[in-house]
Every structure is written in structure tokens, then in C-alpha cells.
């Protein structure tokens, strides 16, 4: 099989690499130049030379030259080796890793204190390229010396050095402690000054300011107040700059401000402006256009008001035109799908608009795209589109062109991919059209059950979530498939999962399994009632209201059955926790959570409804003080609780409780 191999006018690549270690400095310098010239802008050659071990050899030349004599030759060696290392790192992860592994970073950093401007330039450029990669090591801003060094970079008169300082911040500033440390050292002041500098200084400053502002209310407030709003006025100015890159970075900075302190941007009416600017930037054919959709996503994420503004600004049409024209760049494709997902995440009017533009097939086709990120984005978009009862009822989603690729994604080794697919599946299986048999025939239940045993608790919880939604108003056939695949004992184990999110979903699944046809209540009695017993034990120790709510509604559904079912629920209410323990229902009736009190009263209402054995059950509830507790709730502040309590007490009167 042919493979890329670096060709050279002055010998084979292996020879060239070995000449990098020559004892003759002249030979080393020529070899270095040759390698550098070959790899610049050529990813294939970079990878080939990395394989041949060129990076440690170049790093050794740099280290050796740093210690060597002879100003001109040394200077040349330093510059050429720094440029070569930067080039290896530029746009190639393996190159960054190799440069880091070769221990070249401290050597490059030393170049910044050289008296020779060319050497400083080459070192700064090279380091800047390295810090553009996620693989570069994190810079520790909490270390005093590091912080002082960073300040010295920002204070430099050399444009490449100040750019490097800003790049380091963009790369490494993540925590609020780091943001605060940078602010308190005066870094923000420096960056604001640099905004007025050259184009590259301005762009680098805007990007690093965004990193310092992001999700930090305290720092953002200080920046908003900084010199009577000078920083913000400057940033605002650049959203209409000539350079698309600058406009995008200024928008990103203002989005970070808005996310942290929405009052500012709303007051300035900037939300709509930002949407318009980002939609305009989307038309840029290059990297700026690729990134604009991500910025738009960040802006409108979870913001219903901005999603509506985006709709009014024709964003859905504009994004769809890109989809319809076909997208060769996976990053742009991913960004557009995510932006559409965000616009359609809350408002039905947005979903309708997207569907009316015949974009659904384009989104479902993207589930089979070669690039994983695009497939994940398609799942997220589908999840947003399917948050609609109206669309689900119209039967748009439960067909094989959607189900099969989604189920294939469940096999992906990445948890992020599995979760994205589970998110979409959870929505589309809510069955209003009775087409769930398609999902079952495609092996969907089997795969969800397998994932409910996954090591990752979020995967377990989300697969149970999907099964819960699948069994909402499902027929007996569907429920039988789920339970036979899952088994009663496994479901009981999941009810006792160490993670509360899993417990909650498992109990909600039981709730749906025993809803509908009265015979379905018998599911909880399978395998010697292992599910019912697990429910009772879990409710006795449940710490979170959400678990109590699902568990009590599940018990309530069982209690809506026959005498046998009701008596079994009574046993669960009283048998756990030992003789002196308070029945869990008593604890729930005292809860501050309206839904938990409501669910608990429904259990009692169903237990005391007119049915054989009701009088005996009532007596037992009365003896336990539960009826007295109910009497104290006739004016419960929650209307739902109040009404159910009154109905229950009304029923009790039928059995001769004259005290009611």
C-alpha cells in the first residue's frame, strides 16, 4: 500500500533526521532548514517526520544551541529549530504531543529572554502555536512566579510576545479562582490596553478576555464597571469591525458577558444585534463561518426569548439553506445542526418552522454521517425536534430511517455519543401513534436493557428513561417485551441502584408498567414480588422527593387494582423499617413537596375506595395515625392535595368514620 514519505532534495528523510544530530553545527543547521521547509503547511510530511523521530532531534538541536557559543550560528540554529517545532505543532495534535514529550517547552520559553529580537519572535510564535492546541499543558496561574512571567509577556513591546501571553490565558484559564487571580494581578487592564493595539493583539485580547469573563459574575461585574465601562465600549465597537474574525471574537466576548450578567446586554438591546451579526458571519466561507454557528448556539442556549428573536431574524431559514446546499466541512455541519437544535429546543413555533422547510430528512441523514461530531449533533437536533407532542402524534419520527442509525449509535464506545442517541430515542419512543412495534422489531428494547446495566450511571439512568417513555400508555405486548428482556430481578436491582437518578427512573418505569390494563399490575408480583418489595424498601429509605414521587405513584397504580393488590400495598406501607419505624407514607405526607404529598394521598385514596376489604384497611391506617394526619391536611395549601384529601376522607365516612 503506498504511503506518504517525505522526499528530499538532499537525501532520504531518515538521513536528514540523522543529520540533525551531526556534531557539525553547519550540517545540523542545513538539515534543520531542509526539514522546516518541507513540513511548513504540509500535514502529511509533518506526520511522516514525526514518525521518524524528527521532533526530539530538533528539540535536542534547540537545547544544544541554547548552551553553545557563536552568536550568528547559534542564533540561526535557535530560530530555525524554534520555527520547525512550531510548525510541527501547528494544526497537528501528534506534533504538539511530540514537542511536549520532547521537553521543548522550557527551552522555547528561555528564548523569550534572548537579547536577539529574531530569537524572541521565533520562540513566541512557536509557543503561541503550541498553546492553540488542547494538548498543550495547562499553565498554572495560581503560581505566583507564573503569574509574574505572564504579566511580563503582556507588558512586552514585542507583539508576538504579548500575543503569546493572551494565548496562554485563552488556553488555560478555566476556573473561577484562576479568573480572579488574573483579574487581581491587573491582567484585565493590560488586555484592555492591548485591544487598542494591532489586529492580532486585539483578537488575542478579545479571546482571552472571554476566557476570564466566562461564568464568573464577580469578574464580569468588575469588568463592566472598569473605567466607566471602557472595556465594554471597546468590545462593542468591534462587533462592527472590518475583520470578520474580530467581529466574531467581539460577539463571543459579549455573549460571555450576557451569559454571566444578562442585565447588561438586555439593557443595551444587544441580544438581537448579536443574532444578526452572527447570522451574517455564518456566510463567511472560512473558519469564522464555521465558528459563528457555535457562538449562536452559546448565545441562545436555554434562552427562550432569544430563540424567538432568532426565529424572527430568519435564523432557521438561513441555517437550513446551508444544510440544503450540502456541507463539506464537518465542523460547519456540526455547528449548524447544534444551532438548529438550540433554536428548536423550547418553542413549538420554531420546530414547526424547521419541519416546514423540509429539513427533517437532512437532519436524519446526518445520523449516518462519517464524522462522529456530526452524528452527535444530529441526535441533539432530533432530540429538540421530537420534544413535541404534536410532531410525535403526527408520526414523524418512529420510522426505520431514524431508528436504525440511532440504535447503531448506542453501540458507539463513546459515552457522549451513547447519551446523545439516548436523548433522541427517549423522545421519539413516546408513542402516541402506536407505532412502537417498529422500535421493538429493530431490537431497541434489547439495546436499552443492555445499557441499563452499563457502568456509567448517566447511561443507566437515560436508558431507563427511554424505557419509561416507551412504556407510557403502551399496550401489554410492549410491556411484556420490556419486562421479559429486563427481568423482574434486574429491575428490582435497578430500584436499589447506588445512584438516585437511576432509582427514580427505575421506579417511574414500574409506574408505567403497572398502568393501563388492570392485569398489568401483576408484573410487580413476578418472581415472588421482588419488584414490589424493592419499591417498599427503597421508599422506606428514599432521600429525595423525586424518588418518593415516582415510587408513590407506582404504589398508587398498584393500589388501584383488586383487593389482593390493595392488601399487598398495605403490607408495603407497614412492613419495612422495623416495629417502631414510622411508615414512609407518614414522612411523605409531611413533605414540603406538593407532588410528593399528592402522590401519597392518591395511594390512600385508592386504598380506601369502595372495594372488598376497605374497612379493614381503613382501620389499620387509622390505627397508624395516618387518617388523623389526613384530617390535618384538609386545608393543605396545595389545591391538588386538598381536593384528594377531602375525597379520601369522604370515602372513609362510608365506612362509619363519623369523626370526619
Amino acid at each position: 500500500m503506498p504511503s506518504a514519505s517525505p522526499s528530499t532534495s538532499s537525501g532520504r528523510p531518515t538521513d536528514l533526521v540523522s543529520r540533525l544530530s551531526s556534531s557539525d553545527r553547519g550540517v545540523r543547521l542545513r538539515a534543520l532548514r531542509e526539514v522546516k521547509n518541507q513540513i511548513i503547511g504540509n500535514r502529511t510530511k509533518k506526520l511522516a517526520y514525526i514518525k521518524l523521530g524528527a521532533v526530539p532531534a530538533v528539540a535536542a538541536v534547540l537545547a544544544d544551541a541554547s548552551d553553545g557559543p557563536g552568536p550568528d550560528e547559534t542564533c540561526n540554529l535557535l530560530v530555525q529549530s524554534a520555527v520547525a517545532l512550531g510548525s510541527f505543532a501547528c494544526g497537528v495534535d501528534a506534533g504538539v504531543q511530540a514537542v511536549v514529550d520532547a521537553g521543548a517547552l522550557p527551552q522555547l520559553r528561555r528564548l523569550l529572554s534572548s537579547p536577539d529580537e529574531k530569537v524572541v519572535d521565533s520562540g513566541a510564535r512557536s509557543l503561541k502555536l503550541i498553546y492553540q492546541s488542547k494538548l498543550a499543558p495547562k499553565y498554572d496561574f495560581l503560581d505566583h512566579e507564573n503569574l509574574q512571567f505572564l504579566l511580563s509577556l503582556l507588558n512586552s513591546k514585542n507583539e508576538n510576545v504579548t500575543g503569546l501571553g493572551a494565548s496562554i490565558i485563552t488556553h488555560s484559564c478555566q476556573t473561577s479562582a484562576e479568573q480572579r487571580a488574573l483579574y487581581e494581578t491587573g491582567v484585565v487592564q493590560k488586555l484592555v490596553d492591548l485591544i487598542g493595539g494591532s489586529v492580532s493583539q486585539r483578537d488575542a485580547s478579545l479571546e482571552s478576555l472571554t476566557a476570564i469573563i466566562k461564568n464568573n459574575y464577580e469578574v464580569t461585574s468588575k469588568i463592566l464597571e472598569f473605567e466607566n465601562g471602557r472595556a465594554l465600549n471597546l468590545i462593542n465597537k468591534f462587533i462592527i469591525d472590518k475583520s470578520p474574525r474580530t467581529r466574531l471574537l467581539a460577539c463571543a466576548c459579549l455573549i460571555a458577558v450576557r451569559k454571566t450578567s444578562s442585565r447588561y446586554v438586555e439593557d443595551m438591546g444587544l441580544g438581537l444585534k448579536l443574532i444578526h451579526h452572527l447570522l451574517e458571519l455564518l456566510e463567511d466561507p472560512g473558519q469564522v463561518g464555521d465558528e459563528a454557528s457555535f457562538a449562536l448556539s452559546t448565545l441562545i442556549e436555554e434562552k427562550e426569548d432569544l430563540q424567538k428573536l432568532a426565529l424572527e431574524a430568519n435564523a432557521i431559514n438561513k441555517l437550513c439553506i446551508h444544510l440544503q446546499n450540502g456541507l463539506s466541512c464537518p465542523k460547519r455541519f456540526q455547528g449548524i445542526l447544534l444551532a438548529l437544535a438550540n433554536i428548536c429546543s423550547k418553542l413549538e413555533i420554531c420546530r414547526s418552522k424547521l419541519l416546514a422547510l423540509q429539513a427533517f430528512n437532512l437532519v436524519s441523514d446526518a445520523l449516518r454521517h462519517d464524522c462522529t461530531d456530526v452524528r452527535v449533533a444530529a441526535c441533539i437536533c432530533l432530540r429538540s425536534l421530537s420534544r413535541s407532542v404534536k410532531n410525535l402524534s403526527a408520526g414523524y419520527f418512529v420510522n426505520e430511517t431514524v431508528i436504525i442509525p440511532l440504535l447503531q449509535l448506542l453501540h458507539d464506545p463513546s459515552i457522549a455519543v451513547q447519551l446523545a442517541a439516548l436523548g433522541a430515542i427517549s423522545n421519539i419512543v413516546v408513542d402516541f401513534t402506536k407505532h412502537n412495534s417498529n422500535f421493538i422489531h429493530c431490537g431497541g428494547v434489547k439495546q436499552l436493557v443492555e445499557l441499563s446495566m452499563a457502568m456509567d450511571p448517566v447511561v443507566r439512568s437515560n436508558s431507563l428513561w427511554a424505557l419509561k417513555n416507551l412504556t407510557f400508555l403502551a399496550d401489554s405486548k410492549c410491556k411484556e417485551v420490556v419486562l421479559s428482556e429486563l427481568t423482574a430481578s434486574s429491575l428490582a436491582t435497578l430500584i436499589h441502584d447506588p445512584e438516585s437518578v437511576v432509582q427514580e427512573q427505575a421506579l417511574a418505569l414500574v409506574r408505567n408498567l403497572v398502568d393501563g390494563c388492570v392485569d398489568s399490575i401483576d408484573y410487580v408480583f413476578a418472581e415472588n414480588g421482588v419488584i414490589l418489595d424493592a419499591m417498599g424498601r427503597q421508599l422506606q429509605c428514599a432521600s429525595k422527593a423525586e424518588i418518593g414521587i415516582q415510587g408513590m405513584y407506582a404504589l398508587s397504580n398498584v393500589a388501584s387494582g383488586s383487593k389482593v393488590h390493595k392488601d399487598a400495598v398495605m403490607e408495603q406501607l407497614f412492613q419495612h423499617g422495623g416495629m417502631n419505624a414510622q411508615p414512609f407514607i407518614m414522612r411523605f405526607l409531611h413533605s414540603n413537596d406538593n407532588h410528593l404529598r399528592t402522590a401519597s394521598v392518591w395511594v390512600l385514596l385508592n386504598l380506601t375506595t369502595f372495594c372488598p376489604g376497605a374497612a379493614g384497611r381503613l382501620q389499620r391506617l387509622r390505627n397508624a395515625g395516618i387518617i388523623s394526619q389526613l384530617k390535618s391536611m384538609v386545608n393543605d395549601p396545595c389545591l391538588d392535595v386538598k381536593l384528594r384529601v377531602r375525597t379520601t376522607l369522604g370515602q372513609c365516612m362510608n365506612y362509619g368514620d363519623s369523626t370526619i
Binding site: N462, W465, N594, H595, N606, C611, L639
Partner: protein, 216 residues
Amino acid sequence: MPVRVVESSAPSQVSGASSGNTLPQACSLLTVGQTFSGTQNVSSLQNEKDEAWRVNVCIQGCDLDHGYLCGTMEALNVPMADTPVVTFWEGEIVDGKNYTFFTGKWEATPEDDIRHWTKFPSFSPLLSRVEADGGKTLDLSSYQYIFMRWKEQYFVNVGEDCGLTIAGFYYVCFSCSDGSISGFYYDPKSSPFQKLELKATNAGRSGFSFSTYEFQ
């Protein structure tokens, strides 16, 4: 110890300074999965029982924050249809925030609105406020009745050429106490005041059962 039951009063008016939630509270009988069964009189004359269609309703979606409800309505013995006719409807919950008692569309004037709402006995305590401002200042959070408009959007199982119309909409009153539903169909081109009467159903159970789903 006997406990005196304090009856809830009519909805109060929201004071200008009130910042509390005045939207109708969640009611477990008006949640997803709940089903209702009853009749719709296709004649305005209540005695003509033979002109009543049997109707089943299932709630499929509920979003109180947006005053939104939706579901399906199945008419069982429609004379001109071979099978039961199922429609998908969307509802507006009158909450003073998302929707008021005044429809403002679907060919319904404020006079039509008042004429229909006043058919519900539970509406009488609200009439004066509704006449004044559409009920925007009413605190409906502890009222036992929820007022809605249900508008059928499309036929689920038959074509639009089935000879039936879904041009009109229903004025609906739901009782949180027992889950009963009363409604009046309004379509200027159909018989006036066709009455819908539904009761919460429990699928042959001795009590009520509740299913659930949640979108991700």
C-alpha cells in the same frame, strides 16, 4: 376530632403589588395519560340524546408555564364515518398570563366568549372581572376550576375529506375536584352550544392510575 372543612372562596383579584404565582395550580387529574369519556350533543337541544356522539379524550401533553395542553379526541359513533374519528387538539389554558378569557381569534368576539363562558356555573364569580379586563387580574391559583379552549388541529386517522369539520373550537371547564369536563363547541357555521360532557375514566380499576413520560 371533627374538622371543619373551609370551603374555597371565589378567585380573588390580584393586587398590584402581588408577585406570587397566579396561574392555575397543577392538577393530577389533568396530566399526561389521563383519559376522559362522555358525549357531545351535536344538537343544541340537550334532550336529543340520540344525537349525541360518544367521545373519548386522552391528554398527551401539558405545559402549565406556557398555558398549553394537547391530546386526542375520539368520536365513536359518528354517522357519516365507518370508523371512530380521532383528532389531535391543542388547548389554551386561561391563566391571565399566557391566555385570557377573550379568545381574540377563531371568529370569536368578546360577546361570543362571554356568552359561552357564562354557560358554566363556575364562571359566574368571575364574570365581572372578565368583563372588565378579560380576567387578567384574577388570581386563579386556588380556584377549583380550570378554563380552557381546545382547538382541533388535524384528523389523526381519516383524511380531511371525511365530511367532518374541525373549524370550530371548544370552550372548556375542567373540575379539579373530580376530573369532570364540560365544554361547548363554537363554530359560527355549526349548531350553537353543542355540549361536551366528559368524566375521568380509570380503565376498569378500583381507583385511579397515573402514567408518565418526560422529554429530554
